[in-house]
Each structure stands twice: as C-alpha cells, then as structure tokens.
C-alpha cells in the first residue's frame, strides 16, 4: 500500500445557484465517503483559500495571487492505493472533473 497526494485544481465555480452548490458538495461528500469506506482515504486533507502570496527567486520577490483559476490549487487529500494506476483510477470519481477541473496524482516518496 502506497500513499498518494491528490491535488485539486481549478473547477469552475462561476454562477452556481445555492441548490447547485449543495449538489456539488453532496457529490464530493459521497465520493470522499466511498474512498473512506474502501480504506483509501488516509487523510481528508484541507481546502486552500484562493488568496495567497508568491515568493520567487533570489530576490525573494513577493507578489500577490491571483493565479488563473484553472491553475489554482483548491485543496489536497492523502490517498492510499496499491499503485499509481489504482490511485489514478480512484481520482476519476472526483466531482471536480465534471466542472473542468483536474486532479494531480503524485506518489509520496518514502524513506
């Protein structure tokens, strides 16, 4: 069993009605619950606020976000899976994909 980081990016959230927002949320909850029940959810992770700072280079230049919405990391979770292929398969159920978002699946390197 190996660990993988799911990085959630983008996901169009423009102009949703309250009811639609609730439906999106419920899809996420059902997906997370499914992962948890099958023992794949190591850590639910955290959502990230859109506000942020970017510090770059030797000059330690600090700039504000925002980043383009499609590149914006909205959150992450820690997943347990047999291998990278299975982890990628698991990510296909993520509701962010229905809203033009992406899930980056990265193996965690162990000692």
């Amino acid at each position: 069993m190996s660990e993988y980081l799911f990085v959630y990016r983008g996901g169009n959230r423009a102009a949703l009605s309250p009811e639609q927002m609730q439906q999106v949320m419920q899809k996420w909850m059902a997906w997370m619950q499914g992962l948890a029940e099958k023992g794949h959810l190591k850590d639910r992770g955290h959502p990230l606020d859109a506000a942020g700072k970017l510090v770059t280079g030797r000059s330690k230049n600090v700039t504000d976000g925002p980043y383009a919405e499609k590149d914006l990391v909205g959150g992450y979770s820690l997943i347990e899976a047999r291998d990278l292929a299975q982890a990628a398969e698991l990510s296909k159920g993520c509701p962010i994909l229905e809203r033009d978002g992406s899930v980056e699946v990265r193996p965690i390197m162990q000692m």
Binding site: Q22, M29, K38, L41
Partner: protein, 444 residues
C-alpha cells in the same frame, strides 16, 4: 488493507439518519434566504447587491471547506457566522464611504455599540423576523403579482433566474427582467418593511398570502414537467406560509386557512400521477396513500382558522380540499356540499378555472348533462382557451352521456394545447377510451 475506521465527520453529516437528512435538504437554498434577510437588515435594502455578494461568498466557502472536511455539527450556524464575519469586515471597511441601514447607522458608528448591534442582528429571533420582513418587502404594491412571486423565490428561496424560468416555463430573459425590476423597486426603500399593525401591513399580508398561494398552485397544478421542481415549489410555499402562521401579527385566520389548504392538497400529491407516470384522476387515486399526518395537520389548522368574521377564499378552498380528503371514496363524497362551497368561492373570487371546477362538481352531483350545461354557462370561458382541462371536461361528460363521437372531438381539441407529455398521454388515453367503454372522471 485494514478496514478504515468510520469517518466521524461524515457520520455526523447525517448519512443515513432520515430526520437529520431531511433538515439538510435544501440547506443552502434556505440558508441563503435567511442570510440575505439578515444582511439586508444591517446593510439596508439599498445594498441588496452587496448582501447577495456576501451570501454567495459564504456559500462558496462552505462548499470549499465542507466538501473536503465534511459538514460541521451545526451547518446553519456555521454559514450564519461566516456571513456575519464577512459583514463585520464590510461594515468596518466601508462605514465611512457607504450608507448602511439608516436605523442602525449611529449604532454602527461607535465601537461601543458596533459588536452588540451586529450580534443582535444575527441572533435567531432577529433572523426569523428579518425573513418575514423581507417577505413583506418583496410584495411591494408597485410590483405586479408575478414579479412578487419571482422575487420571493429568488431572494427567500435561493432560486436562480434559470431555475425560476424552468419552474414557470418562462424564458430566462423574461424572469431576469422581472427580478431586475423587482430589485430596483426593493432597493428604492432603504429599510426592510416594518412588522407592525398598520393598514399597509394588512394589505401586504394579503399580497403575501396571494403570492404564496400562486407559488403553491404553480407547483401543484403547474405545467412544469419535472415533478421534483413542482414539489419544491409546493414545499417552499408551505415553508413560508408556516413562517407567517408562526408570527403573532401575521397568524390571522386567513393565513391559517391558507396553510390548511396547502397541507390538505400536499397530502394528495403522491397520488396525482400513477406508477406509469399517467395523470391519475381523483376518482382513481389510491386513498390509502394519502398522507394522514398532513391531513390531520390541515384539519387542525382549518379548525383554528374558523374565527373572525372574514371568510377568505382560502377558507373555502381548504374546506373543499377537506371534503375530498375525508371522503371514503369519490362516490361517497359530499358533492352537494362541494358545489355549494364552489358557489361561495365564485362569489368571493370568481374565475373561469373555479367555474370549471364547479361544473365538474355539479356533474358528479347531478349528472353529466347538468355538468355540460354548467360548463357552457361559464361567462368568460374564452379565457380557458389555452387550458386543456376545459375541452377535457366537455369530452368526459359527453362520454358519460354515451355520445362517443362528440367526446372524441373535444379530447382531440385538447391534445394540441396539452402543456406537457403527462397531460398529452392522459388525453391520448381518453381518446382511446372513446372507442371502448365510458369511464367517469373528475379532475381535481
């Protein structure tokens, strides 16, 4: 793989507990109405757009956080606190530049009174009143009825423009126009409507009753094909009517009668369409499926409403609905009583649709020939031109009289004005019936 421990956050979110689940249905929709009402009170109605932004922001935050972390213990309180904190930011940042609610202006200026004022405005009691006050604000006499209904749905029930357009089979552009104009009128008064005994209060209370009645009817009899949408409209109308009936000033007999009417109709909702999706006639509905709890609730409200000297149309309609739900069968229904109630209703609020229903009751009571005569005597029946149930009723009575060819003609005339596939299939089925045996019908 070891079995994962059951996730505590998810378990708390209600999962399989039906009572808990129920309260979470439409949570965002209902909370958005409550938040808008509370924020508008603090910001002033002229800052409605700002209040809407704050609500949108709070709901987005909830979506982002809850989707990963699960629902908090008390999601309503979480949302309201989020909205309050945002409101505090906005007030502090902009109180020099922007005028907020005039009655709170001085209280928000001083640091001594700022926090208690905001806390008070977001307390549960204040919010309930704010929701009602917003309802009263939405039925501004300068707005036509259909705009009032659209505004209530949009602001208090969190329906988006396209959701309203879908529910009312209207174009998005038309609804957008109604709402924009409605908001403009709303924003022209700075504060929410004051709940106090005044002539204006009484007039607006009747307007709200009317708006909720129309909203409920749209759900119950409306033309939208999606059952789910229609049930939602009925439920929203009931929720707001219950809010009215819970307020000491608004809980007048006609308010209770209106809520009684809604309960008694809702009790029959599950049987209006049969398992194969066909419109089911009152005569054919499985009465054991009617919701006895709602019937009891409706009956109690109807009893409570029987005070005072004003007999409203809601009293009469609730009494008719009560006759239907308490009758053991269509045959054993007190049709004489129903006809006389329709006579009363025609005197209070005459309309061709009510006259049509009266004619149907007459046919049940005195036979199809009398029903036909009553149908043909409806004074402004040309207003029923786009209403398929007028030719359907004509066809039904002709069929009962054994005149199959005439019946078929009427049903055929109803077909092109059917408003959705359910009605269409129903009419097709009646046309088939013209070739076989006669079947009695009733369209309540």
């Amino acid at each position: 793989m070891s079995p994962a421990p059951r996730d505590p956050v998810l378990r708390e979110s209600g999962g399989s507990d039906p009572a808990r689940r129920d309260s979470l249905d439409y949570l965002f929709r209902h909370e958005s109405g409550r938040m808008i009402a509370a924020l508008t009170r603090v910001f002033g109605v002229h800052n409605l757009a700002l209040a809407e932004d704050v609500v949108q922001d709070a709901l987005c935050r909830a979506l982002e956080v809850w989707k990963l972390r699960g629902m908090p213990e008390n999601p309503s309180a979480w949302l309201m606190t989020t909205a309050k904190n945002r409101a505090v930011d906005v007030l502090r940042r902009e109180r020099r530049a922007r005028a907020f609610a005039p009655e709170l202006e001085r209280l928000l200026e001083s640091e001594w009174t700022f926090t208690p004022t905001v806390e008070e405005a977001f307390g549960p009691h204040a919010i309930r009143d704010d929701e009602l006050r917003m309802m009263f604000s939405c039925v501004d006499p300068r707005l036509p009825e259909e705009s009032q209904v659209a505004l209530i749905l949009h602001i208090l029930c969190g329906f988006s423009v396209s959701e309203i357009a879908n529910a009312f089979l209207s174009s998005t552009a038309a609804i957008e126009k109604r709402i924009t104009r409605g908001k403009k009128v709303l924003s022209s008064s700075k504060r929410l409507f004051e709940l106090s005994k005044s002539a204006d209060f009484q007039a607006r209370l009747s307007a709200i009753q009317r708006a909720l009645y129309l909203l409920f009817n749209e759900g119950y009899h409306g033309s939208c094909t999606q059952d789910l949408v229609r049930v939602e409209l009925c439920r929203e109308a009931m929720r707001l009517a219950a809010l009215l009936a819970d307020h000491s000033l608004a809980a007048i007999p006609s308010t209770r009668a209106l809520l009684a009417l809604m309960c008694l109709h809702m009790a029959r909702l599950p049987t209006r369409v049969d398992e194969s999706g066909l419109l089911s006639l009152l005569t054919d509905q499985d009465r054991s499926q009617w919701d006895s709890e709602l019937i009891a609730q409706g009956q109690k409200l109807l009893e409570l409403s029987a005070t005072g000297e004003h007999l409203s149309e809601y009293h009469v309609e609730a009494a008719i609905a009560w006759c239907h739900v308490t009758a053991p069968s269509a045959r054993d229904t007190d049709w004489a009583q129903i006809v006389s109630l329709y006579d009363t209703l025609m005197a209070i609020r005459p309309s061709p649709v009510i006259a049509l229903n009266r004619a149907i009751a007459i046919a049940q009571h005195e036979g199809p020939e009398r029903g036909l005569a009553a149908l043909r005597a409806i004074p402004d029946r040309e207003r029923l031109g786009a209403y398929p149930f007028y030719p359907i009723a004509l066809g039904e009575f002709e069929l009962q009289c054994g005149r199959h060819a005439a019946a078929r003609e009427h049903f055929a005339a109803a077909l092109p004005i059917a408003r959705n596939p359910v009605e269409q299939r129903f009419i097709e089925q009646r046309i088939v019936a013209c070739s076989s045996q006669a079947a009695p019908g009733n369209y309540h």
